[in-house]
Amino acid sequence: MDLPKIALLGNPNVGKTSILNELVGARLKVGNWPGVTLEKREGKFEIDSQEVYLVDLPGIYTLYSNGEEEGIVKNYIFSEKPQLLVNVIETANLERDLFLTLDLISLNTPMILVLNMSDEAKALGVEVDIQKLKDITGLPAVKTSAKTGEGISQLKKTIKEALKNQPLPNKNLVISSQNLSKPELEALRSNQIKSILGEVYKTNPPKNTLTDRLDAILIHPVYGLFVFLAVMFLMFKLAFDFSSPFMDWLDGFFNSFLSPLVGLLLGALPVSEWFIKLIQEAIIGGVGFVLTFVPLIAISYTFIVFLELSGYLPRASFLMDRYVQALGLNGKSLIPLLLGFGCNVPAILSVRLLERERDRLLTMAMIPFMSCPARLVVFAFFASIFFKNPAVVIFGLYIFGVLMAVLTALILGFFIKTSEKSYFLMELPPYRLPSFNLLFRIVWVYVRDFIYKAGTFIFASAIVVWALTNLPPNREQSQTIAAQIGRAISPVFEPLGLGDWRMSTSLVPALLAREIVLSSMATIYSPSLQQQENEEFKILPAIKDQLLSLAQAFPTAILNTLKPSSSAFEANSDLEPSLKKEISKHISAPSALSFMVFLLIYTSCLGTLGVLWRQAGPKYTLGLFAYTTILAWILAFITYRLSSLIIS
């Protein structure tokens, strides 16, 4: 690919992403920087029918410090050799941003300057003489506001000319840092900035800005905590309670509409029943399984991206720092961890809001221990069979999961070395109201990325799980590959009090999602309980039903959100009591407890594994899967032995 490459560079929070969005529009893409979990945003656009590639480099303050972002930026500049650097500057903070600009000027490569957020600067009484800035630096400069769209067409024109003319900075500003000691370099830099600023920058700051007024409450040591809790509560309500009716609708659409519809159509063709089952259950079921995550991901992302663009997130980490620093975590880690109680999938996706690789890796390892509703359904089922106080048992399991998450963070934190000592150094950007355009563009890009990258993993694995539980064709449950695997691994589960092959077999389909363990137990323990759905499928009434239930999803979503409690903590198992009776005949209370602990700890969820795979790669995912499985075994073993002593 020999497209001209352009790199956007600047301090964090100067609006690089919105500039990228304005330039590339719908061709915005997200990915990861090689070898790390740091997000990469890029895109392509056309200048006079010549396609160019644009990448948003991580925000940094100087080239000459040794953080991971700086490493990525330097590596990109020196190995990819972009044709043009676009230095995005937050106009109101020109004094600060000039430090990086002068670093970049010293590279002596073609560059243009973008004075972004000019609308904000104006409100702060800042005036920048752009003509003088051009004269001093020798570089083209454009005033923009990605928010109002001001200067964007001018920017395109400037980029086009710069690609042709290759503008280089004034030689007298270029400092060759090799011959200078750090103090000398800094003193020189400081003087350069002062002299440039004196020429081009005027300010007449207002006394009390909106940010000052909001900060008086939002980062107040006491009120701020209440606001944080309220924001988290709102996030939880929107992410889970608002999205659940839409997820239910999608689930119904695929499984009770599309699947029978395709069955009806294929039934008219000369194909085997088994083939129809494959299409209905594996393909349509698999696609449906991936797509039911979409409302959840879209809504939780919208909220998180809003928090990120609004400037609240760094404040949350400033505010919460003292509560989580003992764990070596960032205050922002609380957001993904809390989301984990609703669903681990968006929780893992949201770790991208953490700046440091170490924080991301630690938080991702903790999330799978946050018990989600899928686990709650299983806990509620078993606890209600075997224990007088199911709520106490379930609450205990939630707490146990959190403790294991903390333990995991401490262990992993020991292994992930960091060059950075535990200090805190972060900018709090001004509050900004993100534009809908940018918000929805980013959310859409993420959802698309989930479907393509994590979705394909989840879909492929779902088909494998289906094949295991349905092959060889037309056999009883006890004859499938899954059952054979179940029998083969049952000795491993013997010490946990789960030696019954039917228990271990039910774990195979439960890889898809934990709650499936119940329906698979139902089919394995008592095939007679299965109700064959032989209702006749009629197309027109079915379409009407689908439309009606979609229409109902909207008011339900709103009502759900307004309810003070969250449905993420309600377990409604519609399984028949006869299965409960059947299960209580086959396993004991200590076995049930051991099974719940095993299922709590072990990452039995393709969605979680899929997003981990996308975010952190195969090695991390498989490592974490192995770790949680071994840990689950050990903990279930201990639970079984101890509870056998106590209960019997």
Partner: protein, 72 residues
């Protein structure tokens, strides 16, 4: 009167006179806007951190880093 930034009370505006740095971290601190000659206002002290206002930007810095910043 010279003192360390870490001991400044909230609300006060001080002038940064020197950064007694040992490592490249202090280059980053300068790049973030905390430089000799600049005015810094301490907005808040919370836990192990300070919140500063530098021009139009706000910077959170650990107290142990702020100890190395000399102000007057």
């Amino acid at each position: 009167m010279k003192q360390s930034l870490a001991s400044v009370n909230p609300g006060s505006v001080v002038k940064v006179s020197a950064l007694n740095y040992e490592n490249e971290l202090f280059l980053r601190i300068q790049a973030m806007g905390l430089r000799p000659g600049i005015n810094a206002q301490v907005l808040q002290r919370l836990g192990r951190n300070l919140l500063l206002k530098l021009g139009n930007s706000r910077l959170v810095i650990s107290k142990d880093l702020a100890k190395m910043v000399e102000v007057e």
